[in-house]
């Protein structure tokens, strides 16, 4: 310290053992950062292996599909050399015949047929039946293959095969946006009766926003009560909030079915007291109303808890000061109390929204047809139609949409203004 006093302006500050202060500081910071990193490393590894890698793999699937390219090498080579779409000449058919025979032998012909079947119905049996007879084909191949089935002379089929040849393809993203390739490879909307995904994306975002709003309206009074009641009562109330949280999701959802179905408890009660007639039973289940009610109930704790933890830190003296300065109840609430809860509202709303966008069990059970969300179709493509590339593309679009909303939220409110407690 005496060094610093003696040579204030020009000399470098040093610590007691002679090291420059800046270097000592940097070293200490580095040490504490390494220590922190080591503590977090197990969690980072866990998150990477169980979250980032699987999601990365699914996203990779959305653009990578080698069902065709891996199993039909001759055709892929032929397409690489010849740019034109359309029915090829003898050389192309020779490549096709060789590939069909090889794929039939390796039992991969079904996979190839499935890939083409996504775009042209009936292709699967076309490929598998051609594969069965491919070993008997003799030159001239073009005539021999077309003799097997007239469909091989369709230029549309060859255009689809040419597009399916590369490993990396945007066609699943196009399908996820209700687009497809039309004549000459132009991108056109799919026929009206097959357009689903865009409408479902919009419905999903709208319903999730509605659910977040309902949760906010219901959760705000509960959280306020929890934060301001004396400990004895607030503990009891907290248990009432947490107990459903700990109950199985399926149990809660099926309980709603029992309550709200047209022959359920609520309707029977209303009929019994005469409020509605036997024919006027309210349809609250297997439609959008069912989805909204059940999901609001299930996601409510996620709104209550962040709000509660923020409200707990708000000093009651501010509101009292506002009242003593002449504000009425409403003004004191709206202009003093409410802005202080904004971080909690932001956190809770974001949490509930993101959860609602991805939920699929509850809409599947109680949504009927009008309460279905995009997540149900993603599940359909994973479990029933096995078109995992399309499911991955839909999931990627959903992820992208949520990230865009997150960015908008950041610009409007600021992520640093979000507090979970």
């Amino acid at each position: 310290m005496s060094d610093q006093a003696a040579s204030a302006g020009t000399a470098v500050l040093t610590t007691a053992d002679g090291m420059p202060l800046k270097a000592a500081q940097a070293r200490a910071m580095r040490r504490s950062r390494i220590r922190a990193l080591v503590l977090v490393l197990p969690l980072l590894a866990f998150v990477f292996i169980t979250f980032v890698m699987p999601i990365g793999q699914m996203l990779y699937r959305s653009i990578h599909n080698d069902s065709f390219s891996a199993n039909m090498p001759n055709l892929v080579r032929y397409f690489a050399d010849h740019e034109e779409l359309g029915v090829p000449d003898e050389e192309g058919f020779a490549a096709l015949a060789a590939d069909l025979a090889a794929a039939a032998k390796a039992k991969t012909i079904g996979e190839v047929g499935t890939r083409i079947n996504y775009e042209i119905s009936g292709s699967r049996s076309l490929f598998t039946s051609a594969g069965r007879r491919a070993a008997t084909l003799r030159p001239p191949y073009k005539q021999a293959v077309i003799d097997l089935d007239q469909a091989w002379a369709d230029p549309e089929l060859w255009a689809v095969m040419q597009r399916a040849a590369p490993e990396y393809t945007p066609s699943f993203y196009l399908a996820a946006l209700d687009l497809t390739y039309g004549e000459n490879g132009a991108i056109v909307p799919v026929p009206e009766d097959r357009q689903i995904y865009v409408a479902l994306f919009i419905r999903t975002i709208w319903l999730s926003a509605l659910i977040s709003a309902f949760c906010l309206v219901l959760a705000f009074p509960i959280a306020h009560l929890l934060a301001t009641l004396p400990l004895r009562y607030s503990n009891m109330l907290m248990i009432f909030v947490l107990l459903p949280f700990w109950t199985s999701l399926l149990v809660r959802t099926t309980s709603w079915i029992v309550l709200l179905q047209s022959q359920g408890v609520v309707n029977n009660l209303l009929v019994a007291i005469g409020a509605i007639g036997e024919d006027g039973r309210i349809q609250m289940m297997y439609n959008q109303a069912g989805t909204l009610i059940a999901m609001t109930h299930i996601l409510l704790p996620f709104m209550v808890l962040p709000l509660y933890s923020v409200m707990k830190t708000i000093k009651p003296s501010y509101v009292r000061a506002a009242r003593s300065l002449g504000a009425n109840s409403w003004t004191a609430f709206w202009r003093v109390y409410f802005p202080q809860t904004a971080p909690g509202i932001g956190a809770g709303a974001l949490l509930v929204f993101i959860l609602a966008v991805g939920y699929y069990i509850t809409p599947a059970l109680v949504g009927g047809s009008s309460g279905q969300l995009i997540s149900n179709l993603i599940a359909f493509h994973i479990e029933k139609s096995f078109n995992w590339s399309l499911a991955a593309a839909l999931g990627a679009l959903l992820l992208f949409g949520v990230l865009v909303l997150y960015w908008v939220y950041d610009r409007l409110v600021g992520i640093n203004n979000m507090k979970l407690g």
């Binding site: 689903i196 359920g264 479990e383 029933k384």
Partner: protein, 361 residues
């Protein structure tokens, strides 16, 4: 550990491990509910008793889904799965199933080789059929006291028979029922569905009841919906309705007109952990007597011709199973056999149209 305790502990451990080594284990996946119960009683328990092995029974809404996921991930835990016909063909085409040689299956009691004893179409390259089941529709008899529904067209008649309808969520079976309800003879249904006009006609018919439909996905849902009074009529797997009606005494009645027959088959996923035991279980379960025995627990027809004479009474000891079989002559007046070839080709396009129709207004 004290040395005195070490020796007995070692003997005990050796005994336990030896015992465990003797008992093999297979994991069998099925559809749940009354159907799994029938398999447990008719196939699994007798096999466990006969061979001393253990069967680990698991359920899924559709066992075909986990198979693809497991085989592609290279981590197969299922040894034997029970799947629908079109899924069996599709999974086999994609190389996800082990081949099954029909000559290794046991012959019928009178010596007929298995390949001839199984019903036409029951044996494929990778699958062996166990039962014939049917998608029918059923109604609650207490709801309709005057006129009762008797034909498939009555299912779509909400004026004469008011109330909600239950349908399985998906294009399969619904499009065929719609066409048959619109008057198309069973023999022409699939030819019509290959054309755009036919598909449009089917969706137009479904539109007439769309607002009244409750969609089910699990086999156990339709009897529950009927019991709750939530629907007046619903399509269902016939064995589940039988189980509720005869087994639990519910007032349900099946309408066989317009039924759609299908097989359920056993398959072995590629890379199954216990392949030999899986084949042994499969051979045992598809034997003549076992297939006849499963009819004691649920009203599904055995896939072997030689099993028919052995089909007797239900487990209650009173009900004759014969009239409740899908293949019984009096039930086959207007029946359609599900075409797996059609669905293998068109399921992508038709399910997309169905999803669009369902999600739209």
């Amino acid at each position: 550990m004290k040395l005195k305790l070490l020796a007995p502990c070692a003997v005990l451990a050796a005994g336990l491990f030896a015992g465990a080594a003797n008992a093999g284990e297979v994991t069998v996946m099925s559809w749940g509910g009354a159907y799994t119960k029938s398999q447990v009683e008719a196939y699994q328990k007798p096999w466990m008793a006969a061979t001393g092995n253990v069967v680990n029974s698991v359920d899924a809404d559709n066992p075909a889904s986990p198979i693809k996921a497991q085989v592609e991930a290279g981590n197969v835990s299922i040894d034997v799965a029970d799947v629908e016909y079109s899924d069996a063909v599709r999974l086999c085409d994609e190389g996800l199933l082990e081949s099954i040689d029909a000559s290794t299956l046991p012959a019928a009691p009178d010596g007929t080789p298995a390949a001839d004893d199984f019903i036409e179409g029951a044996l494929t390259e990778c699958a062996v059929a166990n039962i014939v089941f049917s998608t029918i529709y059923a109604y609650d008899t207490t709801k309709f006291t005057g006129d009762v529904p008797t034909t498939i067209a009555d299912f779509f008649d909400t004026a004469k028979f008011p109330g909600k309808r239950g349908l399985r969520k998906g294009a399969k079976a619904n499009l065929e029922i719609a066409l048959m309800g619109d008057g198309v003879p069973a023999a022409d249904v699939y030819a019509m569905l290959k054309t755009d006009e036919g598909v449009a006609r089917a969706f137009a018919k479904l539109d007439t009841i769309k607002n009244d439909v409750v969609w089910w996905e699990a086999g156990a849902q339709p009897p529950q919906l009927l019991a709750d009074g939530e629907v007046a009529m619903t399509t269902a797997y016939n064995g589940r309705i039988f189980g509720a009606a005869v087994g639990e005494g519910k007032p349900f009645q099946i309408v066989w007109d317009g039924q759609i027959l299908d097989f359920d088959l056993f398959v072995i996923p590629k890379g199954a952990p216990h392949l030999d035991l899986a084949m042994d279980y499969l051979r045992f379960a598809t034997d003549t007597q076992q297939l006849a025995n499963q009819a004691k627990w649920i009203s599904y027809g055995p896939a072997r011709k030689s099993s028919a004479p052995f089909v007797g009474l239900y487990q209650d000891g009173k009900t004759e199973m014969g009239p409740h079989m899908p293949t019984s002559p009096e039930n086959m007046t207007n029946a359609l056999v599900n075409s797996f070839e059609f669905w293998a080709d068109y399921d992508t396009e038709l399910n997309e149209k169905f999803n669009a129709w369902l999600a739209g207004n």
